[in-house]
Amino acid sequence: MLPQKRTPDLQAKPADDFVRTLSDAELMDKCVQGFKKLRELIPYLREARRRWAQPGRRVPVPGRPSWSEWITQNLHVTPRRVRQLLSEQAGEISSSGQKAPGRLSKGDWRALFKATERQMAKVFGPLESSDAFADAIQQFAQAIASRFGERHGRIEVSVAIEDRRKRRDRSNPCRPSLARKSRNLPSNGGSALLPILSTQKPFPQDCGGCADMHLGIAKFIAKNGGTDEDTAKACGVSLAVVRQARVRHMLLEGSPGNGRHGH
């Protein structure tokens, strides 16, 4: 009697319907059971991600890790690996093992770069001197600008070479500097029909806003009072940032809906 050919012991993958019926605790157990290949856990991980991942959550809660933190702590792999596995399962990897090119959309030059990286390496890779490289880049960019930038008028592209090692340490341009020299901020003075814009100067060093800076400005207002214009001059920021600080920290006397301008 011939020995029977043994069929490989394939483990059946759980159906999505089954996975969905699991309670949170059961699903958790399935996801973290030891010594299993991660690939076998894909259906459970997919369901776990569907239930629990909250992209964009920024609020740290002690003892309640985010999806990424939880992966690192319990699966001992990186979140990137899990994302890779789940996308692989969704059929995003072609049979040859190469990732299918992503969709290209308007303005998304990163996707274009990724899709054509290999071809570009052939063109730009072997250039040895920085001058030759800069020249090639300039011509390439100029060709794109001339071909697609018609609606914006003539665009001239220039490329500069800078040695990073020689570059001086620059302070973060976004850091607020309250000691910055005060600038002559424009005031519209209440004159009714004066064309205002022509007398204005731009705010080149305005950093925008960040929570820390808002807090600093709010403390400054609470301590010194004064108008928004005075505060903006003293803190070296734009009027918009001063008002953001006031709204963020509820220092709203004199604004619409509150105090003098109340309704």
């Binding site: 973290v32 629990w52 609020v59 519209n188």
Partner: protein, 346 residues
């Protein structure tokens, strides 16, 4: 990867009061989630607005679809918009100040199942029960309207109630606008517009947009007389008869003209006369106006008034607004919309 230790749950469940409490405390510490962009973020937002396909967002039925490019940029320069009251509703700031209501808002937002972030909180602060905040005109919608109503060779635009800068950004995004004239009596709005223009016009030029001339005047449209026959398009969204109370300065139209009839004749009437004076013979007037709770037939009254006073309605566009849930089954559109009436001189 042992099973002995129970793994902590990687999520904030909607019924997890502790997490809502943590969110609450976090925002009490960090303050109201005002829009605030750093310079490179503003540049990126502007770039995205400039490359967005605004011309294609008006469909054959004249519906202007929603895209949100550039809105955050406009709000960055107008933080006090959060304090503007609409009718008798609460402002988002008032909601944020009230501990009980803020906690309820956070719980509701968490129950919706979306990620909790500053943006999520802003959304719920805008739409929570008995709360309303002012909206901004979407820059891409404005750009689409400029593109549709201005001739290919371009022209001068007057924005009669420039407000929070959505239409100024739209003018930046549309190459057909040669010059943008904005008027608004509100000091705060004008401050924001000035900063926008000072920063974003040169920035847009660096990004490849041809020069846009901007002229801003802190004055109500009823008192501004443009140069005769100089305008190609007058386009704005006026305050809806005091529904949105931008400030209590005396120059505000709802204070100057306290009754609905006075507002219509005094503010709208004078503005339309100034438009007629400034527009070229083939110039176009486009007005976004809609009925509100305090003035339920405002749109009809305005339309009749304009037609009786020398204007001919040539087209009505529909500005799509936010999506409403649960209307499909009764056969209504899922989107709210507001009309934009397009007139020419008779």
């Amino acid at each position: 990867m042992g099973t002995s230790r129970p793994a902590p749950l990687p999520f904030l469940r909607h019924d997890d009061i502790a997490s809502c409490r943590a969110d609450f405390e976090h925002y009490r510490r960090t303050g109201f989630p005002v829009y605030s962009l750093k310079r490179d973020q503003r540049r990126q937002e502007l770039l995205e607005l400039l490359v967005a396909d605004h011309a294609g967002i008006i469909d054959k039925q004249g519906r202007i679809k929603q895209t949100m490019h550039g809105l955050a940029l406009a709000w960055h320069f107008h933080p006090l918009a959060w304090t503007v009251r609409c009718g008798n509703r609460k402002t988002p700031i008032e909601l944020f100040r009230d501990d009980r209501l803020l906690m309820q808002a956070i719980e509701r937002r968490t129950k919706l199942g979306n990620a909790f972030s500053e943006s999520g909180l802003r959304k719920i602060l805008r739409s929570f029960s008995s709360t309303q905040s002012v909206s901004n005109f979407r820059p891409t919608a404005a750009a689409a309207i400029y593109h549709r109503l201005l001739p290919r060779e371009g022209g001068v635009v007057w924005d009669m109630s420039a407000g929070f800068g959505g239409r100024l950004l739209g003018a930046l995004a549309c190459d057909r606008v040669d010059k943008y004239i904005g008027t608004d009596p509100s000091t705060y709005a004008m401050d924001g517009l000035l900063e926008m223009a000072n920063e974003l016009v040169p920035m847009a030029e660096q990004l490849g947009r041809r020069t846009l001339e901007v002229e801003l005047h802190k004055v109500g449209s009823e008192d501004f007389e443009p140069e005769r026959n100089s305008l190609q398009l007058c386009f704005s969204s006026p305050p809806y008869a005091g529904w949105e109370q931008y400030s209590d300065e005396r120059t505000q139209s709802h204070i100057k003209f306290p009754t609905q009839d006075k507002w219509l004749r005094g503010f709208i009437g004078a503005t339309l006369r100034n438009c007629s004076y400034g527009l070229k013979r083939d110039g176009v007037l486009a007005i976004n106006i809609a009925s509100v709770a305090a003035y339920p037939n405002l749109a009809c009254v305005f339309l009749r008034y304009a037609e009786d006073n020398g204007w001919r309605l040539v087209e009505t566009l529909h500005l799509q607004l936010s999506k409403m849930v649960g209307l499909k089954h009764i056969g209504k559109s899922a989107f709210k919309s507001e009309p934009i009436f397009v007139f020419k001189k008779k």
